[in-house]
């Protein structure tokens, strides 16, 4: 199912949570809404689910206006941050709930529901746990119950709010792959909210980066990482050293630091340099190495410029010995934005 968000606005009191948001989501796509807390990403997700209603704008499902349709009428699957499992029901009952409450022509037979529950338990690798209560499960298992409960109603779109937020690091990684697998197996249009860029970049087909109720950039993980369109995106996605300075004649300068800025207009600007884009270069600017240590295949270096700005550099492991005392650096590439 395609989803269109058109000029959606939402205020909580005087605080604008969504500010004229436009977004088109293709059928079968896996989209991440990425942003810091308070950026409006969860509000946008809840607006799509019908758990919030916008002050202005439209939400369309396959071209049909559902802006003010109730959550119950939308057939979306929603996975809540804290899972919101029904704790007085068994896992099987939780998963069956969406089918159990159907009435009229939509009603499913008991056998059919039981079969569907079994299939879903198999899909999320929880076979045999149907009779447990949520309190008897681990965090990762609860998350998978929440996922299969949302999938049970064969939703036209699957929405997940910080789906891995409450889990520890190792479980997060395996569940991330699991979500990708489930998405590929079901083909359901999926949107998930996260503040973790690694999660968004690894998992999603496309990433929408939100800041202060606006979408700053929408694109594939590669696009947003390698070609950030705004200073915010550049600073938020991937690691970067940030400088405030001036552009003049295609060069950016901030104190002793100079960076390439081909094509940037003259005037005050902000520049970002990824740690791996800083290389040793005798013609470059001088920094003092504070600390260099080996991290797997890389060398992580902390340094200070002559006027006291801190810098992070990521170099090859073989170069570790060269980072001592004073070294000279230049940037292979910098992202420069007019301030």
């Amino acid at each position: 199912m395609t989803i269109s968000i058109r000029s959606v606005e939402k205020k909580f009191g005087r605080y604008p949570a969504l500010n004229k948001v436009d977004l088109e989501i293709a059928d079968g796509e896996l989209l991440a809404l990425l942003g810091p807390s308070g950026s409006g990403k969860t509000t946008l997700l809840r607006t799509i689910a019908g758990l919030e209603f916008p002050d202005a704008g439209q939400v369309l499902f396959d071209g049909e206006d559902v802006t003010f349709a109730s959550a119950a009428a939308r057939r979306v699957g929603f996975v809540f941050q804290q899972y919101a499992l029904f704790k007085h029901m068994t896992v099987a009952k939780n998963i069956a709930f969406g089918l159990d409450v159907r009435k009229g022509g939509d009603k499913r037979s008991k056998d059919e529901i039981a079969r569907r529950v079994e299939d879903l338990l198999k899909l999320v690798e929880l076979e045999g746990l149907g009779k447990r209560y949520p309190s008897q499960l681990s965090g990762g298992q609860r998350q998978r119950v929440a996922l299969s409960r949302a999938l049970a109603v064969q939703p036209s779109v699957l929405l997940l709010d910080e789906p891995f937020g409450a889990l520890d690091a190792t479980v997060r990684k395996s569940l991330r792959r699991e979500l990708r697998r489930v998405h590929d197996a079901t083909g359901v249009t999926t949107i998930f909210v996260t503040h973790d860029q690694e999660e968004a970049l690894e998992l999603a087909d496309r990433v929408a980066i939100l800041n202060q109720g606006r979408i700053e950039q929408l694109g594939t993980p590669d696009q947003v990482h390698d070609h950030p369109e705004t200073a915010f995106v550049c600073g938020f996605v991937g690691e970067a050293n940030r400088f405030e300075g001036h552009v003049s004649g295609g060069r950016f300068a901030a104190g002793s630091v100079t960076l390439p800025a081909a094509g940037a207009a003259d005037g005050p600007a902000v520049a970002f340099v990824r740690p791996h884009d800083l290389v040793l270069d005798d013609a470059g600017f001088e920094v003092r190495v504070e600390r260099a240590h080996v991290q797997g295949p890389l060398t992580a270096v902390s340094a200070t410029t002559l006027d006291g700005r801190r810098l992070d550099i990521s170099a090859a492991r073989a170069d570790a010995a060269r980072f001592t005392g004073s070294v000279k650096l230049s940037a292979r590439k910098a992202h420069v934005y007019a301030a």
Binding site: L51, E52, E64, D65, F68, A69, A73
Partner: protein, 285 residues
């Protein structure tokens, strides 16, 4: 699916008609069960005018009842406040076996009928009781006298302060106390300077409820009082006597005073809850 902005209803919202119906139903029920009796007391008290009501509430017997009620509360409330602090301190800040049992036992007077509470003191201190002969020999009167009334009141109001403070102190944990002790403070000093200030609003809340019950207690006090006018009648007992003598203006005039006490208690309690949301009551009484 086509609803508009005004009819759209959030998932946790009830339909407007249901809201109106429920609010109406609840307000009607509360008006019938709670407000009407309150209004009736004042209406009956003022049936023969304000003057008659004031006179009925200020004759010597009524004044004696007011004095005894105040005296009883003045003994029972501080006693239970101090006990409540000690008990909550012992329970919340220390680990020992049988803690749950101790909490249940402190709560026990809430589940005992007030009449039974009065009865136990008659059985102990009454003429035929355990100490009956000894008390007669030494010319000490407890039952049908003020000490019995105080004892019965202490019993029925026993848990009020403790049960407000126990959960409050448990929430606050022991880290502040441990910090104070580690800096060399003595146990008593720590209690007065660290623990007590943290729970003062909870203490006030408990004292407020304790006082309302102490001044209003009827069943337990009725059993041990002997209903001697001017001597062992508290205000609620005085209300009963006047009512049974068909002196309705008198009965309701004194009752109106007790209503005022209840209203003041509720106002103070509400103010405390608004100013100190943490002290919200901990269950029934």
């Amino acid at each position: 699916m086509s609803r508009d902005k005004h009819t759209a209803r959030r998932a946790t919202d009830d339909p407007l008609w249901a809201k109106c119906l429920l609010i109406g139903l609840v307000l009607a029920f509360l008006a019938l069960v709670l407000i009407l009796p309150l209004v009736a007391v004042f209406a009956e008290a003022l049936r023969k005018g304000l003057g008659a009501a004031i006179e009925a509430a200020s004759n010597p017997d009524a004044l004696a009842a007011v004095k005894l009620t105040l005296l009883t509360a003045a003994i029972a409330v501080p006693f239970n406040a101090v006990f409540g602090l000690c008990a909550a301190w012992a329970i919340a800040k220390h680990e020992f076996r049988g803690k749950a049992l101790l909490i249940t036992l402190i709560d026990l007077p809430f589940s005992v009928s007030p009449v039974v509470a009065g009865l136990i003191y008659v059985l102990i201190f009454g003429l035929q009781g355990w100490f009956g002969d000894w008390l007669v020999d030494n010319d000490i009167k407890i039952i049908f006298a003020v000490p019995g009334i105080v004892l019965a009141t202490v019993f029925v109001t026993f848990p009020f302060v403790a049960r407000e403070l126990i959960p409050l102190m448990q929430e606050q944990g022991v880290s502040e106390e441990e910090a104070a002790v580690s800096m060399g403070a003595s146990g008593l000093y720590t209690f007065w300077r660290v623990t007590a200030p943290n729970v003062r609003w909870g203490l006030l809340y408990g004292v407020l409820l304790c006082n309302a019950r102490a001044m209003g207690e009827f069943g337990a006090v009725s059993v041990v009082s002997g209903h001697i006018r001017g001597l062992t009648n508290t205000m609620p007992l005085h209300v009963e006597i006047l009512y049974n003598e068909y002196d309705f203006v008198g009965a309701f005039a004194v009752a109106a005073l007790l209503c005022l006490l209840a209203v003041v208690t509720l106002v103070l309690k509400t103010m405390l809850e608004i100013a100190q949301p943490g002290v919200r009551g901990h269950g029934g009484h």
